[in-house]
Symmetry: C2
Subunit: 208 residues, 2 copies
DNA sequence: GCGCCAATCTGAACGACGTCAAGATAATCT
DNA sequence: AGATTATCTTGACGTCGTTCAGATTGGCGC
């Protein structure tokens, strides 16, 4: 019998994979992405620098696991935001705010998520299989009353995602500080930016 | 008399700073951002690994110089795009396309530019002092007939910038390949995404 | 219950990295 | 010309990602 509480009960350490991912996330939160070395993760987990190689082929593969958790948590955050609003018109905007707030509250994690994506030149498939991407798409679809073509829906989702990501990466930039203050806080700033996205648009969504 | 052709004619090497930045950019183009080590840059420039420290206090400071050049070239690219269109209505969309195309054509450089910005939590001041940011703002201003408040103009510029940046970071993602093909090419895809940005908007810009 | 096998971990090592200090070299200043 | 100062080299330190040989240990067949 093993003393491990979790369901998978491996050998010496007791689910080292799990411990490594947790250690990585702890380092990310407390010391930032620059301090996230494989050796530091092993140190934090109390194992030798070579131990992780029995669970991940690479440093990249460990980061992939961390990113995977991040995407899942983003998924949860968007679900919560979506459920918390009755007004279909407001949902899409709340989703955007929730997305950016997730990035603001987990900056290191968010960075790992996109660094990994850019290295692979692809977002994780996770997103399309009932993940965060679907939530955005479905919300847009509801908001347009359902009578929008598949291709328009896809394009609108991509557009929303890009705007959200861009804002998420820049939300902490010092240049926006005075504007945030003028508008009465960060969330108000976020909503204001989203509402000014129309200058490119021929196709303006709330057409109904 | 010195045999150096450039105007500034320093000591042993002959403008090593310049040579280092050029070497860095060459490595970026040919081997990608992962291969961009200070030692590799020094090697490429034909000097010892410690030589760069007489011209840049850090690896970060070298990258800053590289990024600075990148922002300037982005500036030129946007100028060209802006000048190439008579129709004020089309200018803003052309600017967006030009922005993303710059990122697509200089992916490693673009990455260095934003990596440095995120490390400093700020875009370079360069942008606001008659740089690329101003071009976007002025173009939006022209496009709105000039009767838009300062704060709305600022917010619209930020919104456009975020959307452009988000799209720039994801334009190469494999998930978009089929959609690009369906729409008849990358540029058509870009325009289509931009035109679908309206779903967030209460304030739709081409109001006149 | 015992021995074997395979999975798991350690220890030491390699090459590459960023950075620094000490010394050599060469351009500039007086 | 001689002193000064900026520039570059050499060598070193600590850290990193990764590999490999060997030690450890749990699970499985007998």
């Amino acid at each position: 019998m093993s003393t491990v509480t979790a369901e998978s009960r491996p050998y010496h350490h007791g689910d080292l994979s799990r411990a490594l991912v947790d250690a990585a996330r702890k380092i990310l939160e407390t010391e930032g992405p620059a301090a996230l070395s494989l050796r530091a993760v092993a140190r934090e987990a109390g194992v030798s620098p070579a131990a992780p190689y029995h669970h991940f082929k690479d440093k990249a593969e460990l980061l992939e696991a961390v990113a995977h958790e991040g995407w899942h948590e983003l998924d949860l955050a968007l679900s919560a935001a979506r459920a918390s609003t009755d007004d279909a018109r407001a949902r899409i905007s709340n989703l955007g705010v929730a997305y950016v707030c997730f990035a603001r509250d987990n900056p290191a994690l968010y960075r790992v998520m996109y660094d990994r994506s850019r290295d692979k030149d692809a977002l994780p498939d996770q997103l399309k299989d009932d993940g965060a991407y679907c939530q955005v798409r479905d919300t847009i679809n509801e908001n347009s009353g359902g009578h929008v073509s598949d291709i328009d829906l896809e394009l609108a989702t991509i557009a929303a995602w890009c705007a959200g990501h861009g804002l998420a990466e820049m939300i902490g930039f010092k240049q926006f500080a005075t504007l945030k203050a003028q508008l009465g806080g960060e969330e108000a700033f976020l909503r204001a930016v989203f509402e000014h996205l129309g200058m490119f648009a021929k196709f303006t969504a709330p057409k109904d």
